[in-house]
């Protein structure tokens, strides 16, 4: 029984797709240890109207088709189809048998220290967590947000709690998981993202993309959402639904981000603000530089002299650089022009399979620089990187995107500065707001 119990506790899983034989599942259903649920939930909202939604992701715009299994019209959910299709005639199962024995025996193998501000925020977070009140850590890029979670997570694990650190970005999961495993060497930790290995045992700590939380239900005593404002979490309702569904009913969600939305700021009562980077240097402030008709220039196979000079400066001083573009199209048109300056300049975007590899090459100084879309706006650290944004006034560059992009510069203690330029075709509100926010943090830093 232990195997089924460990696997299914806190999960919501397609009945036909478990690691166990169907006879075993049926036996537990019979015993009442497993509860089956209809894949599509119907809600009678009035005598003549009912609404349907997917039991796993909450999506309501379902697709109808002629089903050979139920021999008639049927509905399925396209929104979470990559996790195995949910239709009217499929069932989801949850564990309703004996509760898994909590693991309280954990080792805390962390030798680092927290800065005064990190320590203060960590203690405030601990207080909120123990009082079961939602908390927001608002910390600038490079403040060391992950470290301040360690003592809090350890305390929770010791108490036998099941903890989840969720983030919208796979890159962040891949970066966080090994760090947590190193700090908690004895703890079973699962890192879950699209294409991650399939685990069947029971983990006390789960580091997952918010998307993967769709596969959990009433599982966690505490959930931390890292980078809560990142795409696509803010626009995809299913992901917010996933976080709410994955936590136990009485559990609360805590948020950690450098760029909280106004909504998030007003939602959460307990907040900690860290305006200083872990190394104590101020945040680099962006400079604005007019780059007129950059789109037209690039389409005519020309690089504006300003952009050319900026790039050549980086090449000459052997400083790695990132140049952000508003669209993949524009970036791909510009790539050959940059490659005339240096043939090893590469470009990355969200669907690029070699993304990790290319970023690694830049970090290892095997290539001089990268052109990128907003995909690299967060989660990456490259010592001494110089950053330019082309078309910073485009709507895709929201103030939080610009703040995150700015946060790539000066992260390492050896190079706390670097050039940060927003090339524009007219200054946007978002650019002004980003600059004002960054300067506000620096002002705050001086005071504290």
């Amino acid at each position: 029984m232990i195997e089924v119990q460990e696997f299914l506790s806190g999960r919501i899983w397609l009945k036909e797709n478990t690691p166990f034989p169907p006879s075993v599942i049926d036996e537990y259903i019979h015993k009442g240890f497993i509860t089956p649920h209809k894949g599509i939930q119907s809600n009678q909202i009035s005598q003549i109207r009912q609404t349907q939604k997917c039991r796993r992701c909450g999506f309501k715009s379902l697709t109808s088709f002629r089903c050979a299994k139920c021999d008639g019209p049927c509905l399925y959910c396209r929104h979470c189809i990559r996790m195995g299709r949910i239709s009217n005639c499929t069932e989801l199962i949850t564990w309703s048998g004996p509760v898994v024995e909590p693991v309280t025996d954990h080792i805390f193998n962390w030798t680092g220290t927290l800065t005064r501000l990190q320590d203060k925020a960590s203690k405030e977070l601990m207080q909120s967590v123990l009082a079961n009140q939602s908390h927001l850590i608002h910390a600038v890029c490079g403040a060391g947000k992950t470290e301040l979670l360690f003592p809090v997570v350890f305390e929770l694990l010791k108490r036998g709690k099941r903890v989840c650190v969720a983030t919208p970005r796979t890159d962040v999961v891949l970066e966080l998981a090994p760090r947590f495993q190193q700090v908690f060497p004895k703890t079973i930790i699962h890192a879950l993202y699209g294409g991650s290995p399939a685990y069947t045992n029971h983990a006390s700590l789960i580091i997952a993309t918010t998307h993967q939380l769709l596969r959990f239900e009433e599982a966690f005593d505490v959930v931390f959402v890292d980078e809560a404002d990142a795409f696509p979490y803010t626009i995809d309702e299913a992901l917010q639904f996933a976080v709410q569904k994955a936590k136990k009913k009485e559990a609360v969600v805590h948020y950690i981000t450098a760029t909280p939305s106004d909504e998030l700021l007003s939602q959460v009562d307990n907040k900690s603000l860290i305006s200083e980077r872990f190394h104590g240097f101020p945040l680099p402030v962006p400079r604005f530089d007019g780059l007129w008709n950059y789109g037209k220039h690039i389409k005519k196979d020309k690089l504006s002299p300003k952009l050319q000079n900026w790039t050549q400066q980086c090449l000459k001083q052997v400083q790695p650089f990132l140049i952000f573009f508003p669209t993949i199209d524009l970036m791909e048109k510009a790539l050959p022009l940059f490659q005339q300056l240096h043939e090893e300049i590469l470009a990355v975007h969200a669907e690029d399979a070699d993304r990790k590899d290319k970023v690694m090459k830049l970090r290892e100084k095997k290539i001089p620089g990268l052109l990128t879309t907003t995909i690299l706006e967060r989660g990456i650290t490259i010592p001494n990187v110089q950053v330019a944004v082309v078309g910073a006034d485009e709507t895709i560059f929201t103030s939080s995107a610009l703040i995150q992009i700015a946060g790539r510069v000066g992260r390492s203690i050896d190079y706390p500065n670097g050039d940060l330029v927003f090339f524009h075709h007219g200054i946007s509100f978002a650019m002004d707001r980003a600059k004002a926010t960054i300067m506000g943090h620096n002002e705050k830093r001086k005071q504290s």
């Binding site: 697709t63 088709f65 002629r66 050979a68 399925y76 189809i81 990559r82 299709r85 239709s87």
Partner: protein, 207 residues
Amino acid sequence: MNCLICSSSFLESASWKRLFMLKQPEVICEKCRSKFEKAKEKEHERDWIGTTYEGTLDSLTSYYEYNEWMKQVYQQYKFQYDVELSKIFATDLHPLQKNQDNIIVPIPLHPDMLKDRTFSQVDELLIAANVPFVHALTKMKNSSQVKKSKKERMESEINFSVCVGVEKRSIILVDDLYTTGTTLRQAAFVLKKAGAEQVHAITLIRA
């Protein structure tokens, strides 16, 4: 309209054809559409010369190459059961509507397989394009060609029987994927044995 593949929103350009309903509405964006590759003309008979199947197929037409993009999209359709994606290829199969003289026969699934998959991927392609068809064949054993080698496939036992009268008729067989051509030739073989005069084949993809 949102693209069925990448979910980005797009606008279909206005045209007279669309206005008079002569063309199916576009369901995917231009960028996703452009990644499909039209099938190149390829020889298909050579492997079969000297076998009992020589000359069973009177012609073969395929629409698309089996490139990485097609693999990905087709995988989502056939194995993740995303039935809605059948609409993507409606414009390709649409011309079959005008066909009067031939009987259109999709390659069938075994009834057990059909129940498991919940839909027939070939039937749905035709339904999405509003093409009428006849289930003239039944599959006898629930077996798959997927795990077999090319030689094993080509020498496998015939797995179809004809269940409607086809004497002196001309048939258009429709299948999703042409790999070795065994399935189509077996089907054509039994149809000709049952008296069909001509058997042409159309597949969505040529691997």
